[in-house]
């Protein structure tokens, strides 16, 4: 065990000879960058068409078939898919684990709220600034650990999550009060960001969130298909490969971290304007770990996995609640999911389910034609 060694060791550093894995999810066959599904069973144009249709349905079809309560849940799924997207990129592409993303969400909300009370900036600008500030904070948190191993980074982010929780409990969310924190006891416990004029209603705001989410996904795609994506792929191969190719390892790691934090900040701002606003009880420390769990389960190698992760995090608890099942069981389930994904299915559900379905399909076909099954069995 030479990790994490940040000091001289007696042994020759085995950087490459044993091809040490750089991604926490080593052992899985990563899908080519930019693949949105897990499997390239469809060709490019067909896939784009399917996505366009799905997107149209999501934006215009869904609000019509569900009631207000579920619309709010689905809005939160859309918002959280931005966070899970960032974390998925961080883990799956850059091979780094962060345990404070959920709290960065809170920071994004805080920044947006504070700015709104202090200035009269338009909503899109609020989101952008919230994202950038959160990105910078994320980068600052990660910076000390970037030269050391990924394990140290995970630890620092876990501690940061705890730290941010403490500060948040003291500062509270801005609610129009004075001072730097902008919070007064007279204000309510929840703070809500006013929505943009073009999207004040629930349905309109839902579509607004879908649009922002789409922008974030395009941003992710641009990264993955471009120079950062290639640099991250080199990093995943091994640090030595990346350095030998001229990649500034620290910079690209920092960039991945800042990007994931940026996305969390943007999502936080959107959340502040969602139904019910935000209050500090929504951000307990363990939610960052739950976030990690669903991102792993959803699948970190494909962008679609982010949506699955958000569904697990927001839709599933609401469904269980509806059916009267205790949501603590979900925590247990997600814990099992983490172990299962790390052990056997690094690609997550997005990768695993199509494989399972394909296996199921083969199994069913065998059942349907036993003679063919016999012939197959006879072949080598």
């Amino acid at each position: 065990m030479s990790e994490p060694q940040a000091q001289a060791s007696d042994d020759e550093p085995t950087l490459v000879e044993a091809a040490p894995p750089a991604s926490p999810l080593d052992g899985g066959e990563a899908v080519s960058p930019g693949a949105i599904g897990g499997h390239r069973t469809w060709s490019g144009p067909v896939r784009l068409l399917v996505l366009a249709v799905a997107l149209a349905f999501v934006a215009f079809g869904v609000p019509g078939i569900i009631d207000r309560y579920w619309l709010q849940i689905v809005t939160s799924v859309v918002i959280y898919s931005i966070v899970t997207l960032g974390l998925g990129l961080l883990i799956g592409r850059a091979g780094m684990v962060s345990l404070c993303q959920f709290l960065l969400l809170a920071i994004g909300a805080w920044v947006a709220l504070r700015l709104d009370y202090a200035t009269s900036l338009p909503f899109p600008l609020l989101i952008l600034i919230a994202g950038v500030v959160t990105g910078l904070i994320g980068a600052l948190i990660g910076l000390p650990a970037l030269r050391l191993s990924g394990l140290y980074l995970a630890l620092i982010t876990l501690m940061a999550a705890g730290a941010i929780t403490v500060v948040l409990r003291i500062a509270q969310f801005p609610n129009g009060g004075g001072g730097f924190f902008g919070n007064s006891a007279a204000g309510g416990a929840s703070s809500r960001l006013p929505r943009p004029a073009i999207a004040t209603g629930d349905t309109a705001y839902y579509r607004y969130c879908v649009a922002v989410a789409l922008l974030m996904f395009l941003l992710a795609l641009w990264h993955v298909r471009g120079r950062p994506g290639r640099a991250w792929a080199a990093l995943r191969q091994s640090q030595a490969t990346a350095v030998a190719a001229g990649v500034n390892v620290t910079l690209y790691r920092l960039w991945a971290f800042a990007l994931a934090s940026f996305m969390a900040g943007v999502a936080g701002a959107l959340l502040a304007a969602a139904a019910g606003g935000v209050n500090i009880n929504q951000f307990p420390v363990q939610n960052s770990i739950l976030l990690l769990a669903v991102v792993l389960m959803g699948g970190v190698y494909s962008l679609g996995g982010a949506v699955v992760a958000a569904l697990l995090l927001r839709l599933l608890p609401a469904l269980l609640d509806n059916w009267g099942v205790s949501t603590e069981l979900l925590t247990i389930l997600f814990g099992v999911g983490v172990l299962q994904v790390l052990l056997t299915a690094p690609g997550g559900l997005v990768d695993q389910v199509p494989k399972d379905l394909a296996n199921l399909g083969r199994g069913l076909r065998k059942l349907a034609s036993p003679r063919r099954a016999g012939e197959e069995a006879a072949q080598p």
Partner: protein, 292 residues
Amino acid sequence: MPDLKPFIVLGVALGGVFAMSGVGLVVLYRATGVLNLAYGAIGATGALITWSLLDAGWVPDWVAYLACIVFGGAATLLYGVLFGPPFSARDPLVKATATLGLLLILLGTMQWVWGRDPHGITLPTSRWNREIFDARVSGTQIIGVVFAIVVTTGTAAFLRVTKVGTAMRALADDREITATLGVPVRRVEAAAWLGSGIVCGAAGLLLSNLVGLDIVGLTFLVIPALAAALIGRLQSLWVTLAAGFLIGIVQSSLTAFSDVAEYRTLTPFVLAILALLFFATRQRETDVGSSR
């Protein structure tokens, strides 16, 4: 300057438990490569089991207290036996992330079984008090300090002197080669898991008394222990011990200053960040091969 003495005394006791937990984490990490982030959760679960046993009154009190320690050892050992081997060749980051799975399983179970009502355990040693340096010190707090020192010295001696201990050090250095030397790797690792788990159970019991039996709170008291372990570079038992005490003392002393008292639980984070910055700058000077 307010009178810090009582806070320092409290802080030493708290720090002692942090230090003890930190040492348990480090030893396990060195022997198996697993940084057990579920450490606090295991301790919390054990403490809740103790609470239930005390509440139900089926067994004598001392058995209930012992149950926490036994659970700590058993649960940790079980995880190690089940999930140690499949992960043994993987990156330490993967191994640590896997323990987060265990954390969630335990957290969900605790919340489901014991709900969100407050619970409390008062160890009999807490009722025993003494005045030291103008501060009331309870027996539990003294145990915290004593245990920390005993565990650290005991572990250090164990690693150096006994066969199993030496085997653990060899494992930490190079698992494959150690295996080829005929060392029963799985059994040595199991010993590390068990030992670490027992310390975890004891720490959980002590903390539940010193700090309170709050499920989430106890689970995340792994953070100060981690900070101590991190300052010790996940290697040195003595630095971890010192760091644990330091964190406890500083955190507790800050209570005396009303301006910053609310922020005192940031102490582990701040100290860990400072330590990391220090290591990072030192590494730039003596860069022997990039680490990942």
